[in-house]
Symmetry: C3
Subunit: 140 residues, 3 copies
């Protein structure tokens, strides 16, 4: 298969951790044509991030929001980049702790995720627009 | 070279950080056939993770366990996902802080790691079974 | 396009977070030949790391250094790996929190970064030499 690449805008999400596996699959149906390959999922932002985690119990995602707020507080006395709001610098730090890209194996036309794995969009800003994402697929 | 992909189960490891470079290489001997390429190593779990770090002094791995327990404590008062044991929610959070996949260059038939780099399996649960891993190789 | 891989040494950087997008591009001009593909950027070290974050305001990078020093303090009482200096064990931990590799989409001959995204070299040691990096490119 030749390379396949698509760029699209996710719908806006409120601050927190959100399951978006279905949105990635819906925007990259060419995954179904690949027997063995890799899907690379990239977010073009510095205040939101991507991670893989538990896809079943919504309280896991609530606890992610609580814990990352604890780990990266707003209004830390040492922040100097404060002009864009108290949620801005923490958002940058959370984005780098979690990372802004994923690479997932493709097997037999599907993202080869574990039973409990789902793709999270981690929205760290209070009032963000829909985030831009590029999915690049490759395989045979 | 065509794509190569293999899924296998690691042996169970106790909670902590463990060097598994040799296990990845033993399960993906096709690395030796690739002059230039990439190895993608993916863990199908949400309570264990992968990272690259120091491969020589075992106290580094002990300090990783200590520090991640400090950074992500058990029984934080704000956790709501508590039904699967006090080590469960911290395991999910540690897994996303460290990440569940690695991509490593292949050069002249070997994983092109730095002198001091080794692959760690980071086991965050107290009593886990062997973890499932998929290695995807590509190159020429 | 066949695979392209290059290994080079970055100039030494002082402890902190540094924009190096231009250095990656200068050392991998073959990016310009790729219409659709991926760039994999790998650091061969365990006490420095790579991340993508804000490329405009230098105070963001200052706040990264402050916050990671807060998150991973020197001289934590539980460290056992202390023989290589008080900045050594924190450097290993920071390196794994941030990660030592990036994969970035290539589109129309350019790294397809968001408007505000830049590549940071995160130097966690007080007195490091220039770090070794391998860039692997693939695409069509």
């Amino acid at each position: 298969m030749p390379w396949y690449q698509t760029t699209f805008r996710l719908p806006p999400f409120r601050r927190g951790f959100h399951l978006i596996t279905h949105l990635v699959e819906a925007n990259a149906p060419e995954i179904q044509k690949i027997k063995i390959g890799l899907a690379h999922i990239f977010l073009h932002h510095t205040s939101a991030s991507l991670t893989l985690n538990e896809n079943a119990d919504p309280t896991v995602r609530v606890d992610f929001e609580s814990h990352f707020n604890h780990l990266v507080p707003e209004k830390a006395p040492y922040y100097r980049h404060t002009s864009e709001g108290s949620d801005d610098m923490p958002a940058h730090l959370k984005a780098s702790l979690l990372g802004n890209f994923l690479t997932i194996p493709i097997t037999a036309g599907h993202l080869n995720l574990g039973t409990w794995q789902g793709i999270y969009l981690c929205e760290h800003r209070n009032h963000a627009s829909g985030r831009m994402m590029t999915v690049t697929l490759q395989g045979e």
